[in-house]
């Protein structure tokens, strides 16, 4: 309420001020039109008197100031034309000083001063010096700042700069610099004083108002940077030391922060680079509340950009030892600002690191040095608790990952894992994920066991439980996500050398085995496949032939695999293990290692018998077993018989009849391998098919009894298809008559009232018949074969 009222009041005052300015401006222009100097001075002074108000906030005051400013431009034009007012500029310079009120007097003085300099009737430096001195009369911060900014404005194009028309004859660049520096110093003092001029309860308001005025102060630095004559030498010897002196001495946090930033932004990068020591030297002297880290970050960012922009400046960076200076400055700042939160320190390291990565990408030692410094800082506290600080550490650690797309580079940084040690478990995981993502994104191949070792040290947050408490809070989704990424990572660990690859596998195994049962289901498969891949590569060269000396033989790997898969029993993940065993068996088959293959099958069967209890899982498992077994070529008759026998046995023992039926007819393939020298035992094939037919019948009856209607004929049609397959493959036991009778059977079944009509199986059947029809019509050998069958 109060504030809105206050604002309305302020609006009113502003409106009144504007009205008064306009009123006097009207009379002033009338006086100007009639070349009446005395009247012009009178009304301009009245107009300027409006700027004496203390009632407006800087924002509103600026509005007023701008209006007065516009009017003063007209007045200046008039002053310039001596023949209109008939008063020499020197007399004019005195005349305006007769005004009794100081603020209008000084505005007018500055205005005439501008004309005076232009007339060149006196050295520019003398006039500038006089103006900047006289302005001391305004000690009110806002009014003083605006007055001095007016002075800065009107003098900007009249400084005795190098090559300027006002230079020479005793007017040197130094005078221009002195003038601007003095005005800057005074303005800054006024600006800082604002802070102390109000009651404490209005601190926030004051700070806001101050920030509105900061650009008035900063403008001076900008002017300095625009002075042609300020070369590196002068900047180094005069400008920077004096500006910094003011910055440090003003002991005001807002000013220090703003001005440091200003210095960094307005002066050329090249100057910064050459005066790095001076500039950085000021940092530890700033007030503790100053956000030095942002200042330094900006500086480093600028320097990085500079380095990026032109590679030829790089030698300069090296010559001035930019990194060492920045690094030590940061150290000093951290040391000096005892109260600086950890997050501040770390973000400084982040900036330094970013700088290093951009400017000296080839200097890994620098990167490691930064990380080392960070470790040192972090080691004062056990674990990071501050979430912001943690975030910064993550940024810190991610930076090298982004820069060096090759993760291997990062792995050589000795301090990298040490920094990670200071993160909490959650963040460690995040970091690990980032590392993995980086590897995935860049398709980086980690190719030695040592590096793998380091890498796993880095991502250990994902590999094992770091502390017990975290586990129960863990979201399952997240966990899966994490472990999947680890699984993906495992595929990136690769070396063409089998020996080294084996080492890698062993290393990985060591780590993942320590990860606890929950992770194994995710990590074992990729590892197993990675090992199998190696096996496949070695497949050509027989391990036995090469002798014992060769470390990487398929045999050895299979042993390893056995152990790896065995670990899954602790989970337990029997189905997964079963699949992996089968995969291994297949690989062993391809390596023609019969005993090993047999062993794997045995393992698979054992698992099936002991662990796979769920009937659905059993169905899946048995089909996998049958499929794998069918492809096995390595087995001798005996072994094969044992295994096939087992498989068919399991098939017939499935719980549901349809499952039994399907498994059994699938078993028929075990006796008929459609290869050149595959087994072709037509009789046992037929046996299987007949058996499955029986089971289908039984299933049908069972359905009749329990539900009053038999199930669809799908099973029969499926069996018919199997018949057709073997018939076509030339199994002599499968005759057209048998097929014919099966077709009839299906047709009868379909017409039976008891059968539930089912469009899917009907369609299946009719398309099967259509196939037969097609084969018949195709003619040739196959058509002939089919001809006895009637549809």
């Amino acid at each position: 309420m109060v504030t809105t009222e206050g604002m309305e009041e302020e609006e009113k005052w502003l409106a009144e001020g504007i009205a008064a300015i306009q009123h006097n401006a009207f009379y002033m222009s009338r006086a100007l039109d009639s070349d009446n100097l005395r009247e012009a001075l009178k009304y301009s002074a009245l107009l300027l008197s409006e700027l004496r108000t203390s009632k407006l906030s800087p924002h509103k005051y600026y509005d007023l100031y701008m209006r007065a400013f516009d009017e003063l431009r007209k007045l200046e034009m008039f002053f310039r034309e001596e023949d209109r007012h008939g008063c020499s500029v020197i007399d004019l310079y005195e005349l305006v000083q007769h005004a009794g009120n100081i603020l209008p007097r000084l505005y007018l003085l500055c205005t005439v001063g501008s004309v005076y300099i232009k007339s060149k009737e006196a050295p520019a430096k003398d006039i500038l010096k006089d103006l900047v001195e006289m302005c001391r009369g305004i000690q009110h911060p806002t009014r003083g700042l605006f007055l001095r900014s007016y002075l800065a404005q009107i003098s900007r194009d009249k400084l005795p700069d190098l090559g300027s028309e006002y230079e020479g004859e005793g007017d040197t660049v130094m005078d221009a610099v002195d003038f601007v520096l003095q005005n800057f110093t005074e303005m800054n003092k006024l600006w800082v004083r604002m802070q102390h001029n109000g009651p404490v309860r209005l601190k926030e308001k004051l700070e806001k108002e101050r920030s509105e005025l900061r650009d008035l102060v900063g403008k001076n630095l900008h002017v300095l940077s625009q002075i042609e004559g300020v070369d590196l030498e002068m900047y180094k010897d005069v400008v920077l030391p004096r500006v910094l002196e003011q910055v440090v001495n003003c002991k005001d946090e807002i000013a220090q922060y703003y001005l440091m930033d200003c210095i960094i932004q307005v002066f050329p990068d090249e100057y910064h680079l050459q005066t790095l020591e001076t500039l950085l030297g000021a940092c530890p002297q700033l007030q503790p509340a100053v956000d030095v880290k942002t200042v330094l970050s900006r500086l480093m960012e600028r320097l990085s950009n500079y380095a990026d922009s032109s590679p030829e400046v790089l030698p300069d960076f090296l010559q001035v030892e930019a990194f060492a200076k920045l690094s030590s400055a940061i150290g000093k700042v951290i040391e000096a600002q005892v109260d600086m939160p950890v997050v501040g320190a770390i973000s400084l390291f982040v900036s330094l690191l970013t700088f290093t990565l951009r400017v000296h990408p080839d200097r890994l030692d620098y990167v490691d040095q930064v990380l080392g410094a960070c470790v040192k800082k972090l080691s004062s506290k056990a674990k990071l608790e501050d979430s912001k600080a943690t975030k910064q550490v993550v940024t810190l650690l991610s930076a090298p990952l982004e820069k060096y797309t090759d993760i291997v580079t990062v792995l050589t940084l000795s301090n990298y894992p040490r920094v990670m040690d200071h993160l909490d478990a959650g963040t460690n995981k995040i970091m690990a994920t980032i590392i993995i993502e980086s590897i995935m994104k860049n398709d980086t191949c980690v190719s030695t066991a040592d590096k793998v070792e380091v890498l796993f040290e880095l991502i250990k947050g994902l590999i094992k439980d770091l502390d017990e408490t975290a586990t129960d809070e863990l979201d399952e989704e997240d966990f899966k996500e994490e472990q999947n990424s680890v699984a993906r990572l495992l595929h990136m660990l690769y070396n063409d050398e089998p020996e080294e690859m084996l080492k890698i596998i062993c290393t990985v195994r060591k780590h993942i085995m320590a990860g606890g049962p929950n992770r194994l289901t995710f990590t074992v498969p990729p590892l197993a496949f990675s090992a199998l891949k190696l096996v496949r590569r070695l497949q050509g060269q027989d391990g036995d032939m090469a002798g014992e000396e060769v470390p990487a033989t398929p045999k050895k790997i299979f042993q390893l695999l056995n152990e790896i898969i065995e670990a899954l029993s602790s989970v337990p993940a029997s189905e997964l293990a079963l699949r992996l065993y089968l995969q291994c068996a297949e690989a062993a088959n391809d390596c023609e290692l019969e005993p090993i293959a047999y062993e794997f099958f045995t393992q698979a069967f054992v698992l099936y018998e002991e662990e796979v209890a769920d009937s659905k899982a059993q169905v899946t498992a048995i089909h996998l077993i049958i499929g794998t077994l069918q492809k096995m070529t390595v087995f001798g008759v005996e072994n094969r018989d044992t295994l096939t026998h087992k498989a068919t046995g399991y098939s017939a023992k499935l719980l549901k009849k349809p499952d039994q039926c399907r498994a059994v007819y699938a078993c028929s393939h075990l006796f008929w391998v459609d290869d050149q020298d595959g087994i072709k035992d037509g009789e046992r094939v037929l046996l299987c098919l007949k058996r499955s037919l029986r089971i289908a019948n039984a299933a049908q009856q069972q359905a009749n009894v329990t539900r009053g209607s038999s199930g669809p004929v799908t099973l029969f049609v499926e069996i018919l298809n199997k018949y057709l397959y073997f018939f076509e493959k030339g199994n002599p036991q499968v005759t057209p008559a048998a097929i014919q009778s099966l077709i009839e059977l299906i047709k009868t079944e379909m017409q039976s009232d008891a059968t539930t009509p089912d469009t899917a199986s009907d369609a299946f059947f009719s398309s099967t018949l259509r196939y037969i029809q097609f084969q018949k019509q195709k003619g040739g050998l196959m058509g002939e074969k089919y001809s006895p069958i009637k549809v």
Partner: protein
């Protein structure tokens, strides 16, 4: 044009011309009726010479008991208005008693007249120089005509002119040091100086430099002092902090100042003071007054 003559319908018209009237600088003089007239300017030791013409009205003859011209330097105190004290009185007889039939011209001259005091128009006192022409007539009353003129005296620049420098303050509250570059200023001079803040514990709103004129008249128990502020010149706006130094540059030419007059004929004195006034945010005034000596420097132009 003289209303006194007009009012009484005198028998004669009297007019005065100065012999160097054309070349002499006319200066404004404020008369007691408030009007400002331009009159010639003289200084001490100058010759005052000219012609007086006496012309009877419309051809009548005018009888008289003699004609004289007096040069009077007078001081008039306002509590005793109309009563002039003549500190200078010189007489020249122009004519012996007789009759005037037509316009008659009388030359006159007062050579190297001592006029030590300047013409002054103050609050309570006036010092003037006047030529008084008297046509004495026995029965009809004398005819009197006045001609004012202004006297200004010039002083060479003083050989010793020290600056005024002083530290003043209120304990634990405000300590300042001020400096004016001179203690003696001529009327078109510029006061240059500065104020240095040694200690500031109060919120100062602004600071002015005033020029005050102190006119004292009478003597002893009857002394009457009148102080006027002739200039109020703002030196500073806002609250300074310790260590600030505020410049002073005050041009004296815009103000109507006179030289310092010390004990003029034991009748009056006019003195000038610089008064430094600081006003705090509660409108309390802190001030320090310093006398300065004003003098009139010969104008070079």
């Amino acid at each position: 044009q003289n209303y006194i003559i007009g009012a009484f319908k005198p028998a004669c018209n009297i007019s005065i011309t100065f012999s160097d009237g054309k070349s002499r600088k006319p200066v404004p003089l404020k008369k007691e009726n408030g009007q400002t007239v331009m009159v010639p300017l003289f200084q001490s030791q100058e010759n005052i010479a000219g012609k007086i013409s006496v012309e009877p009205v419309s051809g009548k003859k005018a009888e008289h008991n003699g004609i004289k011209v007096e040069l009077l330097g007078q001081i008039e105190m306002y509590f005793d208005r109309g009563n002039f004290y003549d500190f200078t009185s010189l007489v020249r007889e122009l004519d012996v008693p007789g009759e005037i039939y037509e316009r008659k011209i009388y030359p006159f001259e007062f050579s190297t007249v001592e006029m030590p005091y300047e013409t002054y128009n103050g609050v309570n006192v006036r010092l003037r120089y006047v030529l008084k022409i008297t046509i004495s007539r026995g029965y009809a009353g004398s005819i009197v005509e006045y001609q004012d003129f202004v006297v200004r005296n010039y002083t060479p620049p003083p050989s010793i002119n020290n600056s005024i420098k002083m530290e003043v303050g209120i304990e634990d509250c405000l300590h300042i040091e001020f400096e004016y570059n001179k203690s003696k200023y001529h009327l078109k001079d510029v006061i240059i100086g500065k104020i240095y803040f040694l200690l500031v514990r109060i919120k100062i709103k602004n600071m002015d430099l005033e020029i005050r004129r102190r006119e004292s008249t009478g003597s002893g128990a009857n002394t009457h002092v009148e102080t006027e502020t002739l200039a109020k010149f703002e030196l500073m706006d806002g609250a300074p902090v310790r260590g600030e130094s505020i410049p002073i540059r005050l041009f004296l030419s815009p103000y109507e100042l006179t030289p310092t007059y010390r004990n003029i004929n034991n009748k009056f004195s006019v003195k000038y003071y610089l008064n430094l006034v600081l006003v705090d945010e509660e409108d309390r005034r802190y001030f320090k007054q310093q006398e300065i000596t004003m003098f009139r420097l010969a104008e070079t132009s």
